[in-house]
Symmetry: C2
Subunit: 282 residues, 2 copies
């Protein structure tokens, strides 16, 4: 199968490595808007060759993967669908689905498009962030599969199961709500935590980080994430993120109030309740 | 050197393993209030033998390590100092120092006590959480060393350098402020994040965790921490934690406002500022 990957960053690049590793692509074509990234992707072997432009990238592909930041995705996906025949398949690998699916809902080639979200990533970005095995054992969410040709869905499922990934199905609205809870809010709190501590450091507390241990590193890790990736995700999923953020602020204010009132039994009860996360994240 | 460890949980137990591994204790005595923990600590070889009570635990020791939760520490440390000669040394390994040092400031044996905080831990607790190598390469903070006998400080420094740990010095007030920033606040945000998501799950969104990836696991990890460990830390460091929490809430509210107003340039600028954490936590 000839596969074209548009966008050779963390996700697109890691997918290229995975497809090659498992012998899933006979020919791997890349398209990347940033020339330095494009050269680097070729050096790193993320793809076999680079296409000159969008039509040249799409024409030979059995499957086109669109792996660009979410705002660009909403603009680019309809352009890719404009270029394909009814034998080709297009997937996105984006982190939000509602606006994206609305943007192609009426497209004549809509049924050749399968919306997927591989639930994997790191805080790094660009072709140098691409890592072999990023998707192994992770979950692929397919959204609104009923709007796609069953044969196209089956091809995409088989491809990702071979990486190997678990495959699950969700409606686009549920997907966007759930990812706000289990991914997007974690990034916002991590950015805010970094800003909190950096603000203190700015005031001359240079030694504050001497004491930073594993717990701090773990909660602040996502604050290294690229604004170019994450601002578009928050833009596309704004309403859900605001709802979840308000719930999170409510929980933080409650903990603050327990501490302020020296209600340590109440604080212990809240922490015990939070401990239930053990059952879920082993 | 005969060393007694009072409290055989994550920190006390891991210290026992480290002291044994590096041949730093000729005899390792334990005292543990929870009988099941005491038996388990012996089974796991965290110490060589168990003492029957506090006087029996303290009498033979060249060095006594007090490794109990912070509230118990403030009560227990003066009792241990009551029992020692001016040849013995006592250390605590607690996460907060201000109240603890105030509790022993006037004690006749104050100079035989050295306040230390090994900056290492995990989200687990009890003797089964003890791990070999927990302290290796980490930082030991010695607080208000000028209030201790120089020879006692030198003995304690040499012991921890042999684990091996880096040793640094801080005043108790600075220590408590800095740990609020780089440890305590991370735990509070993680507890609040867990509560946020669990609240959603409670309302019937059972599948929400199917999508949880590495980012969520990393930010929510500390929410598995034991209330019995953390409530006393927040109680002892309440004022600093409230100050840092207010700064964190301010940062979260600012991000919320940028998103609400769809000020995506402002959001990108805030995230870029947060990215500076890369220089600090590599």
């Amino acid at each position: 199968m000839t596969i074209t990957i548009i966008g050779l960053g963390l996700i697109g690049g890691s997918l290229g490595l995975g497809l090659r590793q498992h012998g899933l692509a006979s020919r791997l074509i890349g398209l990347e808007a940033n020339p330095a990234y494009a050269r680097r992707a070729l050096e790193l072997g993320l793809v076999d060759e680079l296409a000159a432009d969008l039509p040249a990238a799409v024409a030979p592909a059995d499957l086109v993967v669109v792996a660009v930041p979410m705002d660009a995705m909403v603009t680019l996906l309809p352009q890719v669908l404009d270029l394909i025949t009814d034998q080709q398949i297009v997937i996105d690998v984006g982190s939000t689905k509602g606006n994206l699916l609305a943007a192609v809902a009426q497209h004549p080639r809509r049924r050749r498009f399968v919306a997927v979200h591989p639930m994997a990533g790191t805080e790094y970005s660009g072709p140098d962030a691409a890592v072999r095995g990023l998707f192994e054992g992770k979950t692929l969410v397919i959204c609104d599969a009923e709007a796609s040709d069953p044969a196209a869905v089956a091809t995409v499922e088989a491809l990702f199961r071979a990486l190997p990934m678990r495959v699950t199905h969700l409606g686009a609205a549920d997907h966007d709500l759930h990812t706000a809870y289990v991914s997007h809010i974690s990034h916002l709190t991590s950015f805010a935590l970094a800003l909190t501590v950096l603000e203190k450091e700015r005031r001359g507390e240079q030694r504050i980080f001497d004491l930073a241990g594993g717990g701090f590193a773990s909660t602040v890790r996502l604050a290294k994430s690229a604004p170019a990736t994450w601002v578009p995700i928050f833009r596309q999923n704004r309403d859900n993120v605001l709802d979840v953020l308000d719930e999170h602020l409510h929980q933080l204010h409650q903990l603050r109030e327990l501490l302020r009132q020296e209600d340590y039994a109440g604080l212990a009860a809240a922490f015990e309740k939070a401990n239930a996360i053990k059952k879920i994240i082993p």
